[in-house]
Assembly symmetry: C2
């Protein structure tokens, strides 16, 4: 039997207990040990809940109990999670976490520490909820050099964009609806401004390239500026607007960003709709692969956490090597990143078209039914820097969305 | 340094050597050892090829060399592969294979044997080419009870169906074209009759349910009867015809089959087109996940084989537990499996419609532009057995395709 402790009895924490109850038999069989939840750390009490006797309020009881072999950290936030996890590892306990803030900030350090202590620090649930992506990156794509990793990494924004596209509704209406359905938080900033996706692409990039990618270095743009009109144009192009976290290696340069982008049906992420997430990986020998599933939710996320517990239980006494050095990967200057740009300019006169052609060279005009008094076009591939210069000269730009086709 | 031997210097074998050459540095870093190809077994010589000095014709040289720690079996076919692999494991060597025939037939036995000998038998490349699916099933979905696993498991047939759909061409024209492009074999039977997909779904089902599923027990139907007209109807329904290998657990019953089926855009496999493969898994806690990528091809397949080599190298002296008992899983009688059925009947008279309604109860009529003199409809959900009875009474059925929506 292996004793574990769960830090935080919120959505994911109670999901972990539920999964262990529902699938206990097959889980024991797969990991060769019965998993017993010995403690649950929470500030609250849960009178009447079957777990009430396991609730403790003092972390010291858990971390000092030599019977506890694995700690599940599902509290979220950097502190006190980091302090707790560090102490656990120093005491020779493995840790499984769903906490993307913690992993993005201290993943490399905690992996190093767990290597020294010969335990494991696992975080499958920190990206893509239940979708297996961390383990496949670490253990399945080991024959490849990763060239690109691009994901729909946030279910809330994908739900909003899908709904805007399906119903032609505007952003704020759909956001309100998403909030009332519980798909968006009351304070939705972390989702809609792209901060959540940013932490996740930082984790994926660090694993893909084996070095520390700091999320603060990643250019991040949310979806708050996307309008019904942008979506009408996307449809006219046979394309879709998705909030993508992407990082790409070109020779020795790694570019990373989070922004809404236009993609076409030929891209595997095009059909990832609603609250689902999808993560696309391009390797130099495997080619294109994509992983799809529920990016959030109590049970899918708990499924990933418990799978990590099984892995930790199977590897007691053995560190599973993960290549993520704490050496910082210097991302290339975003200004040099190359894209095509979809641009809408106010006014639809011959003069404006002339000016666009003069500035941007060959452009592809885009028309959408019912939209007048503006001129929209896709540029050739150019750097962000060049785009910025030309856009400043062009003036009166209504909106710009990067193009992934 | 770890010495390996490659059995078979065909497409995949030469791909393995190429991947080890191209990505050698990062592969060594990830597995903590340099991988050296010491021998290549082939009947042929390869004068002028950089590997010519590694070529041997006698397997005994390889299996009796204690320096060889890992054997890559990429010859295909059951014999002599089985004998070779068994001997290797008995000599304490780990084996990585892409050979689906071998794995479908002897997977459970070879896993048992490798457990006894404390080595590993790995076969990521046997299903879905490069797509990570075996390792995720074994190591990531360990918190779940798998309820369904359904895949587009054969790139040749998916290419043919996609092409038929995109171009409105008939089966034999597209098959010929696929053959000329090298996407289909000169003797395409294993692909187009579904035998290849059948072995793959047998392997996936065995892993998902932890017991031996014999491919001979799986009802298998290929795509040779699919016509341009069927595809016109599919389009009229907003659906797509895909050759699916599927196995589903309902209470204590497991149903498995390979057949062309109709799916709608809401299904994650709908947008898996061309030579790509996709594998959809439904777990009782994780919900729906899907894995997408190149299902075949030299480098993607070699990528999966080499990733197995890395895993084997990291686990020298430790058996990675895989739950696949050689105890046979008795599949439930296909006759009891329930579907909706899309049926085309010759003639479009009131009498025929009346008869259909009388036999099948409530049906949903389907019309496709330009198709006359036949009546097409989708039935309610019913067992295969019930369908067979009613179909016999109905008579003059032109075609039937199972419906997955």
């Amino acid at each position: 039997m292996i004793n574990i402790a769960v830090l935080g009895y919120g959505t994911v924490g109670s999901g972990v207990v539920e999964v262990l109850n529902v699938n206990g038999d097959s889980i024991s069989k797969r990991c060769g040990h019965e998993i017993n939840v010995k403690y649950i750390l929470d500030l609250r009490d849960f009178p009447g809940d079957p777990v009430q006797e396991k609730i403790v309020h003092d972390y010291n009881i858990i971390v000092n109990d030599p019977e506890v072999g694995i700690i599940v950290e599902v509290m979220g936030g950097v502190e006190p999670a980091y302090t707790f996890v560090k102490e656990a590892i120093l005491k020779g306990k493995s840790v499984c976490t769903s906490n993307k803030e913690l992993v993005a900030k201290y993943g490399a350090k905690l992996l190093e520490l767990s290597k020294q202590k010969n335990v494991n620090f696992l975080f499958e649930a920190s990206v893509g909820g239940g979708i297996p992506i961390i383990r496949p990156l670490n253990q399945s794509l080991t024959a490849d050099e990763i060239e690109e990793i691009t994901g729909i990494l946030n279910g809330t924004t994908n739900y909003i964009l899908t709904k805007m596209s399906n119903e032609g509704s505007d952003f704020s209406t759909v956001l309100k609806e998403a909030q009332s359905k519980g798909y968006a938080e009351r304070n939705p900033e972390a989702d809609i401004e792209g901060y959540d996706a940013c932490r996740k692409i930082a984790i994926l990039s660090s694993l893909a390239f084996g070095m520390q990618v700091d999320f603060e270095d990643i250019y991040t743009e949310g979806i708050t500026k996307i309008t019904e009109t942008d979506i009408k144009y996307a449809k006219a192009m046979g394309a879709s607007i998705k909030l993508l976290g992407t990082s790409r290696k070109e020779r020795d340069h790694v570019y990373a960003m989070v922004a809404p982008m236009l993609i076409k049906p030929s891209h595997p992420l095009y059909s990832v709709n609603g609250v689902f997430n999808g993560i696309f990986v391009r390797g130099n020998v495997i080619g294109d692969v994509m992983f799809y599933g529920s990016g959030a939710g109590k049970l899918p996320t708990a499924s990933a956490v418990v799978a990590d517990v099984v892995d930790a239980a199977k590897h007691i006494g053995t560190n599973i090597m993960t290549i993520w050095s704490s050496k910082k990967l210097k991302l290339s200057d975003m200004k040099k990143a190359q894209h095509k740009f979809f641009i809408r300019v106010a006014g639809n006169t011959g003069k404006i078209k002339e000016q666009a052609a003069l500035l941007f060279g060959q452009v592809e005009e885009v028309k959408a039914p019912g939209i007048e008094n503006e001129y929209a076009f896709i540029t050739m591939r150019m750097s962000e820097e060049t785009y910025q210069e030309k856009a400043a000269d062009m003036g009166s730009i209504i909106s710009m969305i990067r193009v992934m086709f």
